[in-house]
Subunit: 330 residues, 2 copies
Amino acid sequence: MQDHDVVGIGNAIVDILGRCDDAFLARFGRTKGSMQLVDAATVRELYDAMGPAVEVSGGSVANTMAGIASFGGKAGFIGKIADDQFGQVFQHDIRAAGVTFNTPPAVGSPEPTGRSLILVTPDGQRTMNTALGVSPQLGGGEVDAELIRSARILYLEGYLFDRPEAKAAFRQAADIAAKAGRQVALSLSDPFCVDRHRPEFLEFVKGSVDILFANEAEIISLYETATFEEAARRAQADNKLAALTRSEKGSLILSGDKLIPIKAAPVAKVVDTTGAGDLYAAGFLFGLATGRDHETAGKLGSLAAAEIISHIGARPEAKLAELARTAGLL
Amino acid sequence: MQDHDVVGIGNAIVDILGRCDDAFLARFGRTKGSMQLVDAATVRELYDAMGPAVEVSGGSVANTMAGIASFGGKAGFIGKIADDQFGQVFQHDIRAAGVTFNTPPAVGSPEPTGRSLILVTPDGQRTMNTALGVSPQLGGGEVDAELIRSARILYLEGYLFDRPEAKAAFRQAADIAAKAGRQVALSLSDPFCVDRHRPEFLEFVKGSVDILFANEAEIISLYETATFEEAARRAQADNKLAALTRSEKGSLILSGDKLIPIKAAPVAKVVDTTGAGDLYAAGFLFGLATGRDHETAGKLGSLAAAEIISHIGARPEAKLAELARTAGLL
């Protein structure tokens, strides 16, 4: 098998993006900026109430893999779609982005392809309402060991912890990567997701993770600290390479005993923050996998995050490799 | 039933919009700027070859109805979707835009909801490859006579001539409208569509149409003239109210023995011309239905066309009523 820089495992999701105001979020009891898992009835209710939308392939780790490919890296993705129109959309878009994707669709499942109703408020913040659908039905047989071994880094999304089937596949993949001497990277995904699964996350981070991605709320939730600084110290004590993102304050990289602050790249107007963390991870992982230093990797992350929040949707519209060359980073 | 300003009948289509270069169009033998009907095998071949895409509800007359609603008008749409995910997307978006839409989805049809692979070149031009799917299966029983009679204007898309079933529904609707003393408007849709059905178009325009929409290529194709000016004279001789669009040259309104030239509204950057004609028609029809003079109606058309070509997709992102108020047109 051809070598890969990074292979990711995550939920295969199609995003349904529409605009709403803060009153709409309040009416449906939504916490701005969060990801909430919803059932089919709630999806219907919210979808009927929300305004016109556009459909764009999403999924946190899938977005990251599309970003790595846009940087010119070789990325692969493992995730479960159904044999339906949204599944075809997901498969088309990730392959068209240049990402290796061979997980067979579930045939005859009553569950559809996963979808996320993403409500974007006028401040550019996104609030996600996700029906995972068939996505957690990722069987052990679909964790492609050969693909995982072909990559320098395995990247996992915390959201997979939300369903036992997917979590099992996740642990199996981490085991395959570790045995092959590969690095394992994890995104904590969402503070509420961390809250739902804190003990397991802590055990997994300490025992199996080489590279940790988290934003301020997530790292504070993981270590249950009062401040970001305290949480960062705890992560440093756990001796992880960590990239902690802080929205417009940039990011902080914990690298051994060093703290490397990285500035956010400038953005003319924040249109939609969907995918900001995913694309930061794309830049950082691409940098690491291609042998760049941690500071450069962080700058590539900032650059990719800035591109993604300047338009609707969580897949890059510009060629990130060109942006990075223009910025003198490649 | 509540009164409507305009009710439209057209193909119910979900657009799959992606970018390509001119070489891609050449490789697949596509004529830039045209709409081509394709079969399922060609859809698959093109879709596999094209880059990542976004899905947005489309359909020429459906776009026009969404535009009228965005101006604050009351619009209704009649069109056939399948009972599938793209059908749900279409139904959601048109209702969320505020358009009355009650055509029942086809249940158990082997044909999916219609889709159009739209390839956007760097110059902003769009080239459409449409698989009509279930869309032409609009039965006579679905031509909602009460809805048609509730509207001042019935608006029909020329594309419906491409399938005999849809054409029958189209003629039936025109008959209902005429008997109720309503006006009948027609868009010629596409020069190649006109070429495929010229005798029927000519007969229908002369006998049943009160308001005609066409671009330069379409009106030249209809009358088989050498120049635009000659085609315009022929349309004027046929005594139609006509709005002839000319891209960046604006439009020309034929109103009795008057010719009213309308300037194109300025656009900072043409991103995607998909829907330009549809939204021009939205402004013009909204203006007519709400009792504005022909020049103001034309200016409303230019304003809506300028909004739609400044972003991806053929449904308005801005509230057209607000843009029109700012421009002093409402």
